[in-house]
């Protein structure tokens, strides 16, 4: 067993040395199976709070990254990445907020066919993956986001997607048909209420 302080040093070193974000299990594989890694991570997050480097968790995997407010200092002489097209951004958003989602469902929301390359680009970036087939006629492939997506966009989990709770509550993540049904029911209910009031 490693003493608590040594453990946080060890966990710090392992995350720091890793080329990609690491899960608690992966950390344990290096520092010992019975280590209180969660406790060490908490200690480390406290140590790094407010510093130039932060310890963050994305999709249950941990990594260090520079603090966001220092972006302007670091961005210099870094080549600008190829920008995502509008179609790419929308498609990514639809996959992230609706996953798992089929190509046809993406097209229904966008009202336009998506060109073949759009999903390829998202997959190549490591943000989107095939997520099994939907058991309906034709067995279409579904797509979902990856852990790399969460890492890139700084999301701890999909629950952190901007505004996802509001969108869900407003029914905006439901398909149009479902929303229509709900609206029809609401309407008939409100008519009923009115009728009742008239009776009074």
């Amino acid at each position: 067993m490693i003493a608590p302080d040594d453990l946080s040093r060890a966990v710090e070193a392992v995350i720091f040395a890793s080329e990609s974000p690491v899960s608690v299990e992966e950390i344990r594989a290096h520092v010992g199976a019975e280590a209180d890694v969660a406790g060490a991570l908490e200690v480390l997050q406290g140590l790094y709070a407010g510093r130039g480097i932060e310890l963050v968790c994305r999709g249950n995997r941990w990594h260090f990254q520079t603090a966001a407010d220092l972006a302007h200092l670091l961005r210099r002489d870094r080549e600008e990445r190829r920008k995502l097209s509008r179609a790419g951004i929308e498609t990514l958003a639809i996959i992230a907020y609706h996953e798992p989602v089929t190509r046809a469902e993406i097209e229904a929301i966008r009202g336009v066919q998506i060109s073949k390359g759009t999903i390829d680009v998202l997959m190549e970036a490591g943000w989107v993956r095939p997520a099994g087939r939907r058991e309906v006629p034709g067995r279409p492939l579904t797509y979902a986001t990856t852990a790399g997506f969460l890492t890139h966009f700084g999301l701890e989990s999909r629950r952190d997607l901007p505004g996802i709770e509001d969108l869900r509550a407003a029914g905006l993540l439901d398909p149009v048909d479902l929303a229509m049904e709900h609206l029809m029911i609401d309407e008939s209910e409100s008519t009923e209420v009115e009728t009742v009031e008239e009776d009074d």
Binding site: A68, A71, R81, A87, I89, R110, V112, F153, G154, P162
Partner: protein
């Protein structure tokens, strides 16, 4: 909520707004399909998407399509399909309502409005997503990590029994082997045909197949004799030399010489 998508140059030209009443000048290029055009027009009404005027939207869209045609620009077919559908929707909304018709024009208008809301929601979500502090653009991971290495080392295992059994197996496989076929007590088909055809001549009544077997036959020889006699009986029946009778499956099988 983001007021507008900053990465996309505004395709609507506000300066031309007042020129023609109720219509807008649109750049024709750069649209992602008819729904995209409709959303831009709807947002230009500067009201919540739930309160947009569908009629006004239809007018603006039809004007957009007409303008494209006037400029002799080629519009993809789906823009024209949408135009035709909107023209139908407009007339349905204006004309006296036919109660027989389902879905009602109001329902169709509502559907369109719901689709616009959903596309708008995803467009804003996408804008908020790409505006986040992104890895490699706003935040950076360690430039030169040492890397973690997992060296797998196999510890091979085998038992002495496996070893010698393997050698036995190879020896058995590759050593010349003498094959001896044990003499087996059987009645051949030829033998059975001869026996049955001789015996059947002597019988007048129906008799079971068992009575054709050699006296005192037992064990595997009896089984063989029974099987061969049965095949022999089938063969003789085929030749018309005897008749077979059986009440049901597995019931006693009777043989008699043909009349």
């Amino acid at each position: 909520m983001l007021a507008r998508d900053k990465r996309v140059p505004p395709c609507l030209n506000p300066g031309m707004d007042a020129d023609t009443e109720g219509t807008l000048k649109l750049d024709i290029d750069g649209w992602e399909g008819p729904l995209d055009v409709l959303l831009a027009l709807a947002r230009n009404q500067k009201v919540d998407l739930r309160q947009i005027s569908i009629l006004q939207l239809v007018e603006q869209y039809l004007a957009f399509v007409n303008e494209a045609r006037a400029l002799k620009l080629e519009l993809a077919a789906d823009y024209l399909v949408m135009a035709a559908w909107l023209a139908y929707l407009k007339s349905a909304l204006l004309l006296p309502r036919n109660p027989e018709e389902t879905p009602s024009p109001e329902e169709l208008a509502l559907r369109l409005q719901l689709r616009l809301e959903r596309l708008n929601a995803m467009r804003e979500a996408g804008a908020r997503l790409v505006a986040r502090d992104r890895m490699g653009r706003d935040v950076f991971s360690r430039g030169a990590p040492e890397g973690l290495k997992l060296l797998r080392k196999a510890r091979w295992e085998a038992e002495i029994y496996d070893l010698i059994a393997a050698y036995g197996r190879i020896s058995a496989r590759t050593r010349p082997v003498m094959h001896v076929v044990a003499q087996r007590d059987v009645m051949t088909l030829e033998e059975a045909i001869e026996r049955v055809s001789q015996l059947i001549g002597a019988r007048i009544e129906w008799s079971t197949i068992e009575t054709f077997l050699p006296e005192g036959a037992s064990g595997s020889y009896r089984k063989s004799a029974l099987a061969s006699s049965f095949v022999a009986a089938l063969e003789l029946a085929r030749q018309g030399r005897l008749e077979l009778r059986q009440k049901s499956a597995f019931a006693p099988l009777y043989l008699k010489a043909s009349a």
